[in-house]
């Protein structure tokens, strides 16, 4: 990848499994560092300024359950705030406010392992949004959701006033984005508005499926 600028408000990333989507996302907030070259966020080098980069870029993982690290919802949403030294009273108010804004206020005292997939996604999102990031990176945000929850999440993401970068197999989600990157074997093979990029991805997927078609002999 060379000179890839991600400046649009909503950017989608598609590609086959193993094409490098998750790697690209992890590069954006310094979870992975490039073997060569640099990744910069607002002029900050992810290798040198990891802390400042993570303050700007929130990350929602493919399995939100693995992102919830404390056993009670309210405590988990407060986890990042506590790490950054926000006082307890202010923390509680911010957590309650964030959960309410996502329509998840009722989950405040719930045990994390009793949450449904949709609820986990909301809690994971709350834990990131409460940190007020400028950019939100999502890895397969609808991967564990049913259609109703996926539509709800799409509406919610659309309402957020921040930059979104999402890798997804949910092409419907990405149709409303501003720009879509198509990845194949670690390279950007298409980079366009959603309609054109997704069409390129469909053609690529069809070609790959045809070339890998199993044959029956005997």
């Amino acid at each position: 990848m060379e000179h890839l600028d991600l400046a649009e408000r909503r950017i989608g990333v598609v590609g086959a499994n193993g094409s490098g989507k998750s790697t690209l996302l992890r590069l954006l907030n310094g979870l992975l560092l490039p073997a060569s070259g640099t990744v910069q966020v607002d002029g900050l080098d992810t290798a040198r300024d990891g802390r400042a980069v993570r303050r700007r870029v929130g990350f929602v993982f493919a399995d939100p359950g693995e992102q919830i690290v404390l056993p009670v919802v309210g405590e988990d949403v407060a986890f990042g705030l506590k790490n950054r030294g926000v006082p307890a009273g202010q923390r509680r108010a911010m957590v309650r406010d964030q959960l309410d804004r996502l329509g998840a206020g009722h989950l405040l005292d719930r045990s994390a392992h009793t949450l449904s997939s949709g609820e986990r996604q909301l809690v994971a999102l709350a834990g990131v949004l409460v940190m007020n990031p400028a950019t939100l990176v999502l890895d397969e945000p609808t991967g564990t959701l049913d259609l109703v929850n996926a539509l709800r999440l799409a509406t919610l993401l659309d309402s957020l006033d921040l930059q979104l970068v999402a890798a997804s197999h949910d092409l419907g989600l990405l149709e409303a984005f501003d720009r879509v990157l198509v990845l194949d074997e670690g390279r950007v093979v298409a980079d366009d508005v959603p309609a054109a990029a997704l069409e390129a991805y469909r053609r690529l997927a069809a070609r790959t499926a045809a070339s890998d078609r199993p044959t029956v002999t005997g």
Binding site: R55, F61, T135
Partner: protein, 219 residues
Amino acid sequence: MSLLETTAPRPGPLRAVGAGTKLVALLGVGVLVAVVPRPAVLLTLSGVGALALMLARPTWRSLARPAAAWGLAAVLTAGVQLVTADVATARDSVLRLTALALPALAVMASTATEELLDAVLAAARPWRAVGVAPESVALTVALTLRFVPELVATAGRLRDAQRARGARPQVLALAVPLLVHALTMSERVAQAVVARSFFDRGDDRDQLLAPDPAPGARA
């Protein structure tokens, strides 16, 4: 409220007691159980533990899993002791288990996880001089509380999958995939902990409350 069921603590007399004080008291109970394992002492400690649990005011529902776990452990312990020793030894073993479990449940039911972590952090801080990272100790406790129920659920799914394929229940057949699952999950959880600023600890409230609004990433 226990390792198998952590819920938010409810208001009550025990809730007001500091997490550190409760942990020290729990340690004291452990020492007494180990040093003075007489039935009268164990019965008294169990009674005090039951009273403490009542003061913690847990919901009946939240007690179901811990009660089941205690019952299973008690039956197994008593069974082994009955076979290898005698009735008195089996009785004392169950009493020891009860004398430890009830106050532990009371502490868990009346203490928020973050208070517990702060207490663990404070207790581990003096050990920094010998190379122990207090934050890592506290994080280990937190992740244990969080992920033990997840691993129990995963074990259930693995068992169901094995049954569906006609396999008889075997400890090894369950333990190996469960271990593999736990190890792969731990890698992802570690990334999540980093992403959520655990290792960026420090006061940067000002930046948090007024972040740089200009987005844009360049690779």
